[in-house]
């Protein structure tokens, strides 16, 4: 198979940055495919700019002139001799116009067809399509009439609480929950403003808001030979600011029957629209196990590694095989869930101050030591965290034989993967996975609001502070001596924890 692939795709341009650029690069290295990366002039010290086989500067400027610049990226691909473009997630990954330009330039776009992207790219169009193939949908208003009065009437008709969502949106931007009629107008204005800023489009839709819902999504992968596979579910209920922070698979909320039903629904969608490549079908599930189609992401998902660990597969590799026109090298019945995996997203932010993003210089990135633990990060020692890009520093993914073991490994590894010098949510993530509700699987999308009392910071003890002071004092002590003398001094130390 490897020669067959290399004949088609021997060099890939990765049209992204940070951890996902490094993630795609790893699979390229494993498959013997050369990788080409792009970077802006301010990113020369970030590893995605120098760990690839070749890298090209995008210059300086706003995103539209760099990572979103269709023409420049396609030109770099051609100059470098890349045969295909991997868009990662975000940026141009769900842009059908770009995908078409790539194909028109004689290059392979590693992703679905522009047509699939168009169907799924707009929440309204996608729901119309889903109704055709009888996929369950949440009651809602997806009309063209966007006048305040019509939207308000629709909200009253659906019944509060309702959700106001940007039609073109994602990632929680342009999204508001409205609990009471009298809050509707202000929330609508705020959502529309954020939508316009983020997506250049302020069309919104209104939906029944399901209380205590779980976010369950199914990973699908389709080739161009009629094989539509799924790689089981992920539960991503734990969210802050409507963005996922903790994801896991399998979901504790699914029994075998429900799992089969939701996964088969996802495959009904991917085969129904004749999908190609990797995609994620997102569902919202209520307490009774009723699930509704939410949206389909036509790209690799941030949280894809937990699926890789539990199904022992490499989704980027499969994306590349499919893009090269090959058949998927497994059958559905060969894919199984083994053990449990949890991903936590490490952000440079202060969870105890309304998740305010933080900036700074990373003095040191810690390394996880346990087996079957992955740290997907785009930062190395000395890198600056700036306001130019997303504040996600890394994803920590821990696999265990069972859920309890995955939780223990997550708690232990979060202590190890320090980002010295920057305020992060590491401690907060530990608090989340260590709560009784999380341990018991009582997870739903308002978990963080509901259990905010359990998530309060634990006061640092005097003893912990004293240990920090000891280190501070000996740090200043070592400043006065040379390094090697200090090491000898430690070696001379006698009686440490002797019996």
């Amino acid at each position: 198979m490897s020669t067959e692939i290399l004949n088609k795709i021997d060099k890939i341009l990765i049209a992204n940055r940070g951890e996902i650029a490094l993630r795609v690069m790893k699979t390229c290295k494993e498959m013997g495919i050369k990788s080409v990366t792009i970077y802006t002039e301010t990113e020369k010290s970030y590893p995605h700019s120098y760990l690839s086989d070749e890298s090209f500067s995008l210059g300086m400027g706003p995103l539209s002139e760099t990572y979103l610049n269709h023409e420049k990226i396609i030109e770099i691909a051609k100059v470098s001799g890349a045969k295909a473009i991997h868009p990662g997630y975000g940026f141009l990954s769900e842009n059908s116009v770009f995908a078409k330009k790539v194909t028109d330039a004689g290059l392979i776009f590693i992703g679905p067809t522009p047509h699939s992207m168009e169907i799924m790219g707009d929440k309204k169009t996608s729901k119309v399509e889903m109704e055709k193939i009888k996929i369950p949908l949440i009651p809602g208003y997806h009309g063209d009439d966007q006048s305040e009065s019509v939207l308000k009437a629709a909200a009253i008709d659906i019944g509060f609480p309702v959700l106001v969502k940007a039609s073109a949106g994602g990632g929680g931007k342009g999204m508001r929950i409205v609990w009471k009629e009298e809050e509707f107008i202000e929330a609508l204005a705020s959502a529309k403003r954020e939508a316009l800023n983020s997506f250049g489009n302020d069309i919104v839709l209104i939906e029944k808001f399901i209380q205590n819902p779980r976010h369950i999504e199914v990973q699908v992968m389709s080739d161009t030979h009629g094989n539509h596979l799924h790689f089981f579910e992920r539960e991503c209920s734990i969210q802050r600011r409507h963005q996922k922070v903790v994801e896991e698979t399998p979901s504790k909320a699914l029994d075998d029957k429900l799992r089969k039903s939701i996964c088969e629904t996802a495959v009904a969608i991917s085969s129904g629209i004749n999908y190609k490549g990797a995609g994620t079908v997102e569902f919202i599930m209520d307490a009774d196990g009723k699930f509704f189609f939410l949206e389909m992401n036509t790209r690799l998902q941030v949280e894809h590694p937990i699926t890789e660990m539990v199904t022992n597969s490499d989704l980027v590799r499969l994306q590349i095989l499919v893009a090269a026109g090959l058949e998927l090298p497994m059958k559905q019945q060969e894919i199984s869930q083994n053990g449990h995996a949890i991903e936590v997203r490490i952000y440079s932010e202060d969870p105890d101050n309304n998740f305010m993003p933080a900036i700074g210089k990373i003095g040191h990135v810690g390394t996880p030591t346990l087996n079957n633990v992955r740290l997907d990060s785009g930062y190395v020692d000395g890198n600056e965290v700036t306001i130019d890009f997303d504040p996600m520093l890394a994803k920590l993914i821990c696999w265990g034989v069972d859920r309890d073991s995955a939780i223990s490994k997550t708690l232990h590894s979060l202590n190890e993967v320090k980002f010295l010098g920057v305020t992060t949510n590491r401690d907060y993530l530990k608090r989340i996975v260590n709560t009784t509700p999380f341990r018991e699987g009582d997870t739903f999308t308002h978990f963080i609001d509901t259990y905010s009392d359990l998530l309060k910071p634990v006061e640092t003890t005097d003893l912990e502070i004293a240990a920090g002071i000891a280190s501070f004092l000996t740090n200043s002590q070592t400043e006065d001596t040379t390094k090697s003398e200090t090491v000898q001094a430690w070696n001379r130390l006698q009686g440490f924890r002797n019996i």
């Binding site: 600011r241 309304n354 993003p357 306001i387 005097d462 003893l463 912990e464 004293a466 920090g468 000891a470």
Partner: protein
């Protein structure tokens, strides 16, 4: 030897009795502590004694077995003393002012929303950190602001 330190932005005093050859002894908050120290790598030390813990540090940032704290000497302090207090609401990071919800002379209560700004593509609401009267607003809607600058000043009633 008495010594002042700033820990998590608060000044504390310790009484240091020993600090050489990787051993340190001091009194803090009324208790006596004794630790030994071994270097692990360029950022980490293994502290043993009253607590056995891996301590990593970079500049004034310390992590004790996963717990983060800042420790610095008052002479070299990098942290601004009491940022966003004393009636000055500061921008947490560079961004754009979206909405100014108050005007000079308004009486506000602690927690009232004053300004909505956008930074890192998300909206942040700047709230009053005390009861008081708005004495100055330094930016208007649509303006860019740097990080750590005063946005709104508040004159507090005397207690």
């Amino acid at each position: 030897m008495k010594k002042k330190l700033i820990i998590n932005s608060k000044e504390v005093e310790i009484d240091l009795s020993l600090n050489r050859d990787g051993k340190v002894e001091f009194t803090f908050n009324g208790k006596q502590y004794s630790f030994s120290n071994r270097k692990v790598d360029s950022v980490s030390q293994y502290i043993s004694g009253d607590l056995n813990a891996l301590v990593s540090s970079f500049e004034n940032n310390f992590i004790v077995d996963g717990r983060e704290m800042t420790i610095e000497s008052p002479l070299r302090s990098r942290s601004k003393s009491n940022a966003s207090s004393g009636g000055h609401m500061q921008s947490p990071m560079p961004g754009k002012i979206l909405q100014v919800l108050v005007k000079v002379g308004d009486v506000v209560k602690e927690g009232d929303s004053l300004i909505v700004m956008e930074a890192m593509k998300m909206e942040h609401t700047i709230k009053a950190n005390a009861d008081g009267t708005i004495s100055a607003i330094h930016f208007s809607e649509g303006q860019q602001c740097a990080g750590g600058v005063d946005l709104v000043d508040l004159s507090q009633e005397e207690a």
